[in-house]
Symmetry: C2
Subunit: 484 residues, 2 copies
């Protein structure tokens, strides 16, 4: 209560006139009853089960992703959503081209197969494969700062060994991911034959974590780039420590396959009072090819869809329109999210987007409500958190983004909020074959839906504007790019 009072006072000071009691008695009672229903509902669980069972892996741009769109359209329609549609966009297809278990082996000094997987965007080896000496870097910083001879990496395989630490917020991911996203440029610029990295993620299991690389200035790699599972990276580390020269052979088939179509699937509950005002909640439909995308992001699909559906079922239309967007091609560079934001610029509806949020961090419980809204609206979020506290949800700061697929909208000035999930073990499974439906705990998923139903209801049934007011405040920078 004290915290709320302080926040309300701050809001008053900022001249917004927003009061602590901005959540009406009615809105609070309705939100609470939505949560009660959500906690007893298995809808999100069944949706996630259906998507992962009936479609499974759905790599962006593939026929599997297209089947997922068909699934989503049918599902939204059956659940009674309005304005169900697909917005298509073009994208460049990358595929592994072969088994997800690629042929990688230490050949010297101790021949042994390694469990490794190509990073998204990597090139194939030359036909017939390649074999080269490993140059070992203990960290990505060591590679960045490498001042060896001009030709020291020429024809070699660069190995980068950074280890990621598990945290609730997943904050170690960005740092650990630099080798994955940027390592290839460093290696290729020095003439390396390829890049190997210790798998990003915190798992000690023998699956390597895949994920997209970055392509500065549209440049694409000519070299293979692979993640090696943690136990296999240990093996490389041990051999390196022994002082032996080490050689690795690999044969991979990855590559870019040309332009294809992907799409965003959109569905709505039309607002009763101000239907042109849009609260956008999202998740992404595509997944990596190795798991079945249950945690990333089947759970998010289930959560936001179920939350909206429960609001619909409760029989009271919110003031604003709730728009659910299941984005395509998130994993390969937010392609769907960028297409969505561009289309809104073109059709002139960007300003109608009142606030946005995405569920894309697994299926563990929500533990925090964060916002990225105008200072005058912080009190509204404080009041929301008070209502959600019985779900175990704390109040986070006001410099949050809304999730990966919200980044383009946030960059165009759309306010954001986020229900932060516990990510302590997210990177045990993320982007590996272990991302499967059995990892989801039904009660935890239901808690997410309860939080999302309350959150979405509060945002959609108010007339509070969440945009920053540039004349009275400086805009906060959003936090770093979230996990994808």
């Amino acid at each position: 209560m004290m915290r709320l009072a302080v926040a309300a006072a701050a809001a008053v000071l900022a001249g917004s006139g927003v009061q602590a009691q901005e959540l009406s008695e009615d809105a609070r009672a309705h939100a609470r009853s939505l949560a009660d229903v959500a906690l007893e509902s298995d809808l999100a669980y069944r949706l996630t089960e259906s998507l992962t069972t009936e479609i499974g892996p759905r790599l962006a741009g593939t026929p599997q992703e297209a089947r997922a769109r068909d699934w989503a359209v049918e599902m939204f329609t059956e659940l009674g959503f309005e304005n169900v549609r697909v917005e298509y966009f073009p994208m460049d297809l990358w595929t592994r081209g072969h088994s997800i278990f690629e042929e990688v082996a230490i050949t010297h000094p101790y021949p042994q197969e390694l469990y490794a997987t190509s990073l998204g965007g990597a090139a194939a080896t030359p036909e017939g494969g390649l074999e080269a000496e490993i140059v070992f870097f203990d960290s990505f910083d060591d590679l960045l700062e490498f001042d060896g001879a001009e030709d020291a990496l020429e024809g070699k395989l660069v190995f980068v060994n950074d280890r990621m630490t598990a945290t609730r917020t997943g904050e170690g991911y960005g740092w650990a991911n630099r080798k994955r996203t940027q390592g290839w440029v460093q290696a290729e610029n020095r003439g390396a034959a390829g890049l190997l990295i210790r798998s990003v993620g915190t798992s000690s299991h023998r699956f390597a974590h895949t994920g997209m690389m970055s392509f500065p200035a549209q440049r694409l790699p000519d070299i293979p780039a692979l993640a090696v599972s943690a136990p296999d990276a240990d093996q490389i580390e041990r051999i390196h420590a022994s002082g032996e020269t080490m050689r690795v052979a690999l044969r991979t088939y990855a590559g870019w396959r040309g332009e294809v179509a992907s799409g965003n699937v959109i569905a709505e509950i039309t607002g009763a009072g101000a239907p042109e005002e849009i609260v956008i909640i999202g998740a992404h439909l595509d997944s990596w090819d190795t798991g079945t995308g249950a945690l990333d992001d089947g759970a998010g699909v289930g959560i936001v869809t179920a939350a909206a559906r429960l609001i619909m079922e409760a029989g009271v239309r919110p003031r604003r329109t709730i728009r659910v967007v299941l984005f395509g091609a998130e994993e390969v560079g937010l392609v769907g999210a960028r297409a969505y934001a561009s289309a809104r610029q073109e059709d002139g509806t960007l300003d109608q987007h009142i606030i946005g949020s995405e569920s894309d961090f697994g299926a563990r419980k929500v533990w925090r409500l964060s916002s990225g809204v105008g200072e005058h609206a912080v009190g509204f979020f404080d009041a929301m958190q008070e209502e959600m506290e019985f779900l175990g949800i704390e109040r986070g700061g006001n410099s949050s983004g809304g999730g990966p697929d919200m980044i383009p909208l946030a960059a165009m000035g759309v306010p954001m909020a986020r229900l932060d999930q516990d990510g302590t073990d997210y990177f045990e499974f993320h982007h590996t074959p272990n991302d499967t439906f059995d990892k989801i705990v039904p009660e935890e998923l239901a808690q997410n839906v309860a939080a999302w139903a309350m959150f979405t209801w509060f945002l959609a049934d108010t007339d509070v504007d969440f945009r920053a007011r540039p004349e009275t405040e400086a805009e906060d920078a959003a936090e770093g790019e979230p996990a994808r």
Copy 2:
């Protein structure tokens, strides 16, 4: 102490004349100092690291297993063991013939790849693969009792879904393993095109548990037989529950490759007083092909070798000879163990084997001392356990075997004992790619060595005979076949 007194009284009643104080003050002090050194030693850890790093997977009969023998001979020699030698024996080689990730996919109703691996001894699919309908059995018992039409399984893929439960003793393994060892016979006798089973083991990770099938009357299968990872078995179960007909396609390359050589590596510490009396301690050198055999049984190799070496280092030769045997070809049917026992029958030294034990249940702490000895010697074990209690070791019963490779010797009347390890999570890793060195906790491994050093010392420095005395007692049956 009370327990010891009771046991001693029983021994007296049995007319053996064994006393509670059969462990001399000297033996107890020496054993305790061995344990103190062992708890500070990383020798077992380093040996296991060396075997898994320098050799890695070492499937029975392959060049990798031969390299492991070379490794063992060199290692024993460097450590100062005596009579280091290899005893070769012939065996039939079976290999997977291809990647350890086999090509298995649901084709109908929801196309999706499955993570599966051939069971040891299985045949390949026809060239080009096969596709067939799944007939789902919830348990192996259901398959045994199946009374469907004569041709109900003809050309079908039999799927068996038994789930294993994790226990400290691993006692659920034998039951869960019936589908693995015997399932193919049931399927093939009914004309099935192949067998798929839910992976034995308790892991929820996406690796299937391999292991040898059984071959009654030397019969070998003509059909493929594979384990499917737990999340993929869930997928099959969900589709089955939906009532849909399900089809699976597979292409595998497994098969028998003809006769090759394997071998047991033997090393000794010659006894000072009765060198012809042998205390045999063992582990197995071969492993499955998918992991690096760290828990199964690199840890055992490290434990028994380090225990013997620490006894040697302490500078007091025991009365009896300590013989360390690293068996070959355990995983494929105790081939090395049978060869060893047969050779001892032939060379007439079987009766010189006073007692035997093997370490082959991972790397977690020893929690129990079990025996399979004459009733007159139970008190000796009770006294040993009292000495080992500070390591957290309880006393088990007297109907224990000595471990998988001790089965042939036990069957020929050699007394047995066992230091039971905590197996609660053993089947998370066992016979999967996840059986790697990083799963071993150094302190837990050192506790094993401490227990083994005391145990081996007590058994080797006494003149107690452990054989049952048939004239005064009925021989106990050994417990069921342990994990392999």
